[in-house]
């Protein structure tokens, strides 16, 4: 894992004191809310439906045990005993007091964490594959490149006031587990015919009210020009992105309106201009960062056998573990989606346990998934049973990864001031319905995602089944969407037709799964069947 050097620590410490002073000045009346609001947002502090909400950055989703413990302590000391892991690999606290904000940031800084650039029109926390550095199918660990981009983008003066927020994702495998093509910039680290590593750039993706899949604009950027190329992409956006209408200000609108070819031409022109000036950052910085992400000391000669005599354990192994590059190891996913629970929420006690388990079983490392679960990336297969027993005892052993109960849900109208409808109760009812039917395993991989408004924090556009909550004359209403994917086969879901009320949407999801079970062919997932048979049989079942 990356460790702060004296510059990183000094920057974060200084920022803590700066914000502490800004909070004091606000509470003493030296700053108005209009003056203070952009300052608090730059430090991740929102004013939400019930209270202040603090969003803490988890760079590329990677945490060590000490950091997870610190997050738990903040939940206990300053909030109401829990936190909410988000769809951008961060964590949010829902009940923060302004008077505590400085102390919280100081506590975070002690464990090399912060809330900088988790809001506002700047480059946000860089996300990455949650199995980075562990997955058997990975070409290369994307995190050194994500860390390089984190350092480049932190406090970047040119990109502090972009037309709109800007999200970057980096992956290092052909299998996309991070919704890479639904980011403002998606980067895949690839190898060219000469065997050299480079960056493939996708620009102009996103969800929200105008979902778009990012087109590839450059097949291969040499790694020593990675930052320069990203800077060229940002410069064109910063120069020409719309600032007159926030709903048309994301880079996806610029790329769409200019066209991929013209946008790419302008980026390439800017890129060449920057190369001519010779201002690319020193490659040595990447070489300095890379060793922090070296493999831990994996044991060799381990057995790949797992005792599957306990059927509940065997089920969890089948659903919640992922193939590891080191023989005898797996990545284990801790589900934060117990049936009837709140997707992504974890109590302080559970966070402390996950920190302990990371130390005991996973080289002191865990990851936040954008699907609102937690990964222990490097677990010996021989330790899996003991690990699972401890998770089960704490209510963290649910075996549902990528199944219908593993629902992404935004906080919705229960917490968010932007939401039009509640997301969490719908997620709970769907999970309960399919638990009662005992169908989760039969349905197999089925990614269901719920957003409480058109801003799409719950990624409904990318759900095999998506649900969008809307306001219909003051009442909650839910639209059903089918056919989305956030993987390497990224696609955008389509609306089936008129919406449903809270109970109706649960019935509608059930009907959609019945169509799948009736129509599916051998080996097909829900998404495969939908793509083969199209919308018609689903519409017939829902509205016919």
């Amino acid at each position: 894992m990356y460790k702060y050097d004296q510059y990183d620590q000094a920057m974060v410490d200084a920022r803590v004191e700066e914000f502490r002073d800004q909070c004091r000045r606000r509470m003493e009346g030296h700053l108005t809310e209009d003056q203070f609001k952009p300052l608090r947002l730059m430090n991740g502090l929102y004013l939400q439906l019930h209270a202040y909400m603090l969003r803490v950055a988890v760079p590329y989703g990677t945490l060590n045990g000490q950091q997870m413990d610190a997050l738990a302590d903040i939940a206990d000391k300053y909030d109401r005993g829990y936190g909410h892991f988000t769809t951008r690999q961060n964590i949010q606290y829902n009940w923060i007091k302004l008077e505590d904000a400085g102390d919280i940031l100081a506590d975070l800084a002690k464990v090399e964490m912060h809330a900088i650039q988790t809001s506002g029109n700047c480059i946000r926390n860089i996300s990455a594959d949650h199995f980075a550095g562990a997955a058997a199918d990975e070409l290369v660990d994307p995190r050194p490149y994500a860390e390089l981009m984190r350092q480049w983008s932190s406090f970047h003066p040119e990109f502090t006031y972009l037309p709109r927020k800007f999200k970057i994702c980096v992956i290092g495998a052909d299998k996309d587990r991070a919704a890479m093509k639904l980011h403002d910039i998606g980067i895949q680290i690839v190898k060219n015919d000469e065997g050299e590593l480079g960056a493939q750039f996708y620009v102009g993706g996103g969800m929200g009210r105008t979902p778009m899949i990012a087109p590839m604009i450059r097949e291969f950027v040499p790694l020593d020009q990675l930052i320069t190329y990203a800077e060229a992409c940002l410069r064109v956006y910063n120069r020409y992105g719309r600032r007159d209408n926030k709903y048309k200000a994301r880079i996806k609108i610029l790329v769409h309106e200019l066209g991929k070819e013209e946008y790419t031409r302008q980026v390439e022109e800017e890129f060449q201009h920057m190369l001519d000036q010779g201002i690319e950052p020193p490659f040595a910085e990447l070489e300095r960062i890379r060793p922090y992400f070296a493999d831990p000391a994996f044991e060799t000669g381990l057995s790949d056998d797992i005792d599957r005599s306990d059927p509940d354990f065997a089920l969890w192994v089948d659903t919640n573990t992922h193939a590891h590059k080191a023989p005898g190891y797996v990545s284990a996913v801790i589900s934060l989606k117990p049936v009837g629970g709140i997707p992504g929420d974890a109590t302080a006690e559970q966070m402390h346990l996950m920190a302990d388990l990371a130390r005991e079983y996973s080289f002191d490392e865990c990851r936040v998934m954008h699907t609102q679960n937690i990964v222990l990336p490097h677990v010996k297969k021989a330790d899996l049973y003991a690990l699972w027993q401890k998770l089960e005892a704490a209510g963290l052993g649910t075996a549902n990864l990528d199944q219908i109960g593993d629902i992404i849900a935004c906080p919705g109208l229960d917490y968010c001031s932007l939401a039009n409808a509640r997301s969490i109760p719908v997620a709970q009812k769907i999970a309960q319905r399919f638990e009662e039917k005992g169908q989760s395993n039969t349905l197999g991989e089925l990614k269901l995602k719920i957003s409480g408004c058109i801003n799409a924090c719950g990624h409904h556009h990318a759900g095999h089944i998506g649900i969008l909550g809307v306001d219909k004359k003051g009442k909650e209403n839910y639209q059903l969407l089918l056919g989305g994917s956030e993987g390497e086969d990224t696609s955008l879901a389509k609306i089936t037709g008129p919406g449903f009320d809270e109970d109706g949407i649960v019935d509608a999801v059930e009907k959609a799964t019945e169509v799948y079970l009736n129509e599916k062919q051998e080996g097909e997932r829900f998404l495969d069947t939908y793509r083969r048979v199209g919308m018609a049989p689903f519409k017939e079942a829902l509205y016919g």
Binding site: T32, E33, L47, L49, A51, D414, A419, G474
Partner: protein, 99 residues
């Protein structure tokens, strides 16, 4: 009727204008009439509230106040998925009344 709501500056708690100050309980809210802009500006300037705005509501026969929109009813009670964190953790009907 029009009632006024916002958040306490220091704690962030949801508050309701009760005529002389701000209450945590929506049932304390009073009709602010149509001339509330000056009042809101003064209260914001004095840092007694932040993010304040007016909403439509009705006073029920039993004296309770019901905001017109579900968003404000959720604000008034707390998250419907965490009854223990609402202002009425022991009222089994509280969440149903919000919806």
């Amino acid at each position: 009727m029009k009632i006024l709501t916002g958040n306490n500056l220091e704690t962030g708690a949801v508050v309701w204008w009760e005529g002389k100050g701000w209450s945590l309980h929506v049932d304390d809210a009073v009709d602010a009439g149509e001339e509330f802009e000056t009042l809101l500006a003064t209260e914001e300037a004095e840092r007694r509230v932040v993010g304040a705005y007016a909403i439509d509501a009705e006073r029920l026969d039993d004296g309770r106040v019901r905001p017109a929109h579900i968003k404000d009813r959720v604000r008034a009670l707390g998250p419907t998925v965490r009854p223990d964190l609402t202002l009425k953790p022991n009222d089994p009907n509280a969440i149903a009344e919000v919806l």
